[in-house]
């Protein structure tokens, strides 16, 4: 600190601090503190913080076998940690240099399979050993002390005085009397809050415009094609088999609601067939087509067990009976899979006779109304 302050407005070092209002500097002069050994100063400070050191179990005696052993252990642990960290560096840098390449390839070396595990093992060991070393150090070499710290309840004095300051400020502002200010403040706060929320309106879109949830890409005359785009004729599939088909429109196989299962029923399945009311003619011969999107949570229902005529959704295990118009027979799904009306076109390929008669996929609030 210097007293040579010559800037304008400065008192040139004549400006001294006023008297302190209490505090430990009043209790102990620098001379007293200088005369105290370090241990006493430590305990004195602790006492001011409400901490009492009850008991100190000193660490091992300097030079004792116990201490030498503990030092060896801690030192060895830290050394191993450093070695392990260096091993990480060697593996990381050396791959593709003096080690084989780390990148995976079909005909690549075995080293690439060990690259990530080696990184994990070396870094994990290095970091964990640092931790073990620190724990050993604190358990075996540090003195174990038992300290007690007081826990104070709130101070009545603080509450009363703080309350007085707060109430005083509020009283001086006169807000309790000046009603126009409080009311206009409230009005302003509400208005500003609303204003700041408004930009979120950019997130809002109308989901009921054009019935997007109720429509798919299927329409009259749209061919049923496989994932690779090839059309399907009756007779391409074995009885009892299932094929996933998509509408023959651009990007039809990537649409989230268009995937459809084309199922060829076996003769005995046809005998049990009981389609939904009004949908008896939706199939074509022994072929039926159902939406692949589960009516429960929208997963693709994928597992067809033709022995029991059941389709299982792997997400939540809803089961649908294809001979009963894909009615849910077990699990959490509540509605049948919608059926796609199909026929064949002039060239003998399967086409849709129209869109699904109802919304595909999971149920929502106003589904029945659209």
């Amino acid at each position: 600190m210097t007293t040579h302050d010559t800037r304008p407005g400065s008192t040139g070092g004549a400006d001294t601090a006023g008297p302190l209002h209490g505090g430990p500097d009043d209790d102990y002069t620098p001379e007293q503190l200088a005369a105290m050994p370090r241990e006493d100063l430590d305990r004195l400070g602790a006492r001011y913080d409400g901490v009492q050191i009850l008991h100190v179990d000193p660490g091992p005696e300097p030079g004792s076998p116990m201490e030498r052993r503990a030092i060896r252990q801690v030192g060895l642990t830290f050394t191993l940690a450093g070695l392990s960290a260096l091993a990480f560096v060697v593996v990381y840098v050396g791959a593709g240099w003096f080690f084989p390449d780390w990148q995976w390839s079909v005909s690549g070396s075995d080293f690439s399979a060990f690259f990530t595990p080696l990184l994990g093992a070396t870094m994990g060991l290095a970091l964990a050993l640092v931790g073990v070393g620190l724990v050993l150090f604190s358990k075996k070499l540090l003195p174990h002390e038992t300290a007690v710290q007081d826990k104070h309840d709130g101070s009545h004095f603080d509450r009363v005085t703080t309350g007085a300051t707060l109430v005083g400020g509020l009283h001086n502002s006169g807000l309790a009397r000046r009603k126009l200010i409080t009311r206009s403040l409230g009005f302003m706060g509400g208005g500003l809050g609303l204003m700041l929320l408004m930009p979120l309106g950019g997130l809002i879109n109308n989901p009921n415009k054009g019935n997007p949830l109720g429509r798919t890409a299927w329409a009259e005359g749209v061919r049923l094609v496989r994932n690779d785009g090839s059309p399907i004729r009756p007779g391409d599939q074995e009885p009892g088999s299932l094929e996933t088909v998509f509408p023959a429109v651009p990007g039809g196989n990537r649409q989230s609601d268009a995937a459809t299962m084309l199922i060829r029923l076996r003769p005995e399945q046809r005998e049990q067939e009981a389609p939904r009311e009004g949908q008896g003619d939706f199939g074509y011969g022994d072929y039926v087509a159902f939406s692949k999107i589960c009516t429960h949570a929208g997963c693709p229902v994928s597992l067809y067990e033709q022995e029991t005529s059941r389709i299982l959704c792997p997400c939540h295990q809803s089961q649908f009976d294809v001979t009963q118009g894909a009615k849910p027979v077990f699990g959490p799904a509540t509605r049948s899979l919608p059926q796609l009306p199909i026929t064949v076109d002039d060239e003998g390929f399967f086409v849709a006779r129209g869109d699904y008669p109802e919304a595909v996929g999971p149920t929502y609030w106003n589904r029945e109304r659209i």
Binding site: P30, A121, M123, G133, L134, H296, P314, H316, T334, E368
Partner: protein, 553 residues
């Protein structure tokens, strides 16, 4: 006041002078000393929250690294990277960059797995920490606020997990996103509007990955960091709770000062947590996204389970019956709404409000700083076990297809087990836990009254055999212990009250002088050496011949 070099107590070393210079400007010596002197109680279970904190740190660091390479976009690209089986496949840029991160960035796969493992450990340690707080009653006044902050952080951690897990846009996460979409749609009245607001339109659109990304890397972590700061600040302000024990009261904290013991131990734990996660990230494969393939709405793999912390909601969804509610006007409340939005909402609301509920029902509005042993609060312990059982059955049901497959049982039977189990098992567990708590309480009292069973059998002069009991403290004229139960563990074995000598240290050869240890033991009154002049001919009751009496009620 100008300090001169000759002032008493002025620093003489270089370091000391620098410290003086710093304190002259910042005046930190006082607050720093108060911090260093802060006493922390010592118990292994107080470290669980620290593990959560450290896992979060690692997730933050590794996640930042991942953002250097990840492209949160649903733009269609053709994969040209070094993973041959997927070359030429159309996929989103997000999945493409996740593959590049795994195959073409040196150490990128390691960092991705470290990130995933740290996230799993983060949620797991939060849950275990929460259970510790719950079962020991640490949430009671004055710590209700910190409990609520903790529950909010748990929910945010789950949201972190869900948004992060969706980002790679692989087949598994895409299926998860499809289910999230269905859950949003299922909310009555506002479902479709909410879906359009979140996804920007129909599933899947082109916005969702970008939106989840900014939520995952900025919005939620920022809130979490702020809440962690408040959580720790409140902990420091209110001081840590402690278990009952000698010298421990409601008005003090007994333990180690922050510096150096607690700091050394906490730093050690930090490095061990770092090390374990790094080892897991390298050695244990997790979420190999290249095996799932890009998301395709027409494909799914069986046995698709979310990360463990969402499994309970998957389970509740699987076992919920097919109950759509059809309202007049052709409105529907979908069955999916109940096991997801309602179950999760109710569980976290009850959890967050539990301190207030317990305060209301028990009428206990006092401040508590001493923890309770779970057995001493049988109702809370049993309620907790009941909740855990409910959660456990839901979690089990979340993997019911895997159980059905591996143990060769019917899938539908597993579903019915879940449906019945979730109703029947929690009350059964409640009753069982209650009995166990009471039994443990009784045993504590019995030992306090009659002493520890020593295993020493004596034959009395008239031929009767008795087992000698070691009282824990002074006894009354009937030979019954007069110590009252104080909420602390009661020693139940002779070794816990110094019945055994401590082993001489040294693994291969002793590094202590055995005779020295023997003398030390005698001085401390430990072991049989000290008890050689102790008379063990009675049950320890001075008044009569040691005849055990029936406990009187």
């Amino acid at each position: 006041m100008a300090a001169t070099a000759t002032a008493p107590g002025a620093p003489t070393t270089r370091l000391g002078k620098q410290a003086y210079e710093i304190d002259d400007r910042l005046i930190v010596a006082g607050p720093l000393r108060r911090t260093l002197n802060k006493v922390f109680p010592d118990h292994w279970s107080f470290l669980l929250g620290e593990i959560a904190l450290y896992s979060f740190l690692i997730a933050l660091l590794s996640g930042t690294y991942l953002t250097f390479f990840f492209d949160p976009s649903l733009r269609e690209v053709v994969y040209e990277g070094s993973y041959a089986p997927l070359r030429g496949v159309e996929m989103s840029a997000a999945y493409d960059s996740a593959l590049n991160l795994s195959f073409d960035v040196r150490g990128g796969l390691f960092m991705r797995q470290v990130h995933h493992w740290s996230a799993l450990l983060f949620v797991a340690s939060i849950v275990i920490h929460l259970l510790r707080i719950f079962f020991t009653g640490a949430f009671r006044r004055p710590r209700e606020t910190n409990w609520i902050i903790g529950v909010v952080m748990l929910v945010l951690a789950l949201l972190m997990g869900v948004t992060g897990y969706t980002l790679p846009d692989d087949l598994l996460s895409g299926t998860g996103l499809r289910i999230i979409s269905a859950i949003i749609l299922s909310v009555p009245v506002i479902g479709t509007w909410a879906h359009w607001a979140v996804f920007g339109g129909e599933f899947v659109g082109e916005l969702i990955i970008g939106r989840f990304y900014i939520a995952h890397v900025l919005i939620i972590p920022a809130i979490l960091l702020a809440l962690i700061a408040v959580h720790l600040l409140l902990l420091v302000k209110q001081k840590h709770t402690q278990f009952a024990g000698p010298g421990r009261t409601e008005h003090n904290v007994v333990g180690n000062r922050l510096f150096p013991t607690f700091a050394a131990k906490a730093t050690g734990l930090l490095f061990i947590v770092f090390g374990v996660i790094a080892a897991l990230g390298g050695l244990v494969q997790i979420n190999p996204v290249w095996l799932w393939g890009p998301y395709n709405p027409a494909q799914v793999s069986s046995g698709s389970q979310p990360d463990w912390y969402v499994l309970f909601l998957d389970g509740s969804t699987r076992i919920f019956p097919a109950w759509d509610i059809n309202l007049p006007g052709d409105y529907t409340i979908p069955a999916l709404f109940w096991p997801t939005v309602v179950v999760a909402g109710a569980m976290f609301t009850v959890l967050a409000l539990y301190p207030m509920i317990e305060r209301k029902l028990s009428g206990d509005t006092a401040s508590h700083h001493l923890l309770q042993r779970p057995r001493d609060v049988p109702v809370r312990t049993s309620l907790g076990m009941m909740g855990l059982t409910f959660y456990g059955v839901l979690m089990l049901s979340g993997g019911n297809d895997v159980f059905a497959d591996k143990f060769d049982v019917s899938l539908n039977a597993m579903t019915w087990f879940g449906r019945l189990g979730v109703i029947v098992l929690p009350p059964l567990v409640y009753m069982l836990t209650y009995r166990i708590c009471l039994g443990l309480q009784m045993h504590d009292r019995e030992v306090l009254e009659h002493g520890i069973e020593t295993g020493v059998i004596r034959r009395l002069p008239h031929g009767e055999f008795i087992e000698v009991h070691q009282p824990l403290g002074p006894v009354d004229e009937h030979g019954h212990g007069t110590l009252a139960y104080g909420g602390a563990p009661v020693p139940k074995k002779m070794n816990q009250v110094g019945g055994a000598r401590r082993a001489i240290r040294g693994f291969f050869k002793p590094i202590e002088e055995p005779s020295q240890v023997e003398l030390e033991q005698r001085a401390e009154g430990r072991g049989l050496a000290a008890g050689e002049n102790r008379e063990l001919s009675s049950s320890g009751r001075p008044s009569e011949g040691g005849r055990p009496q029936e406990p009187r009620d």
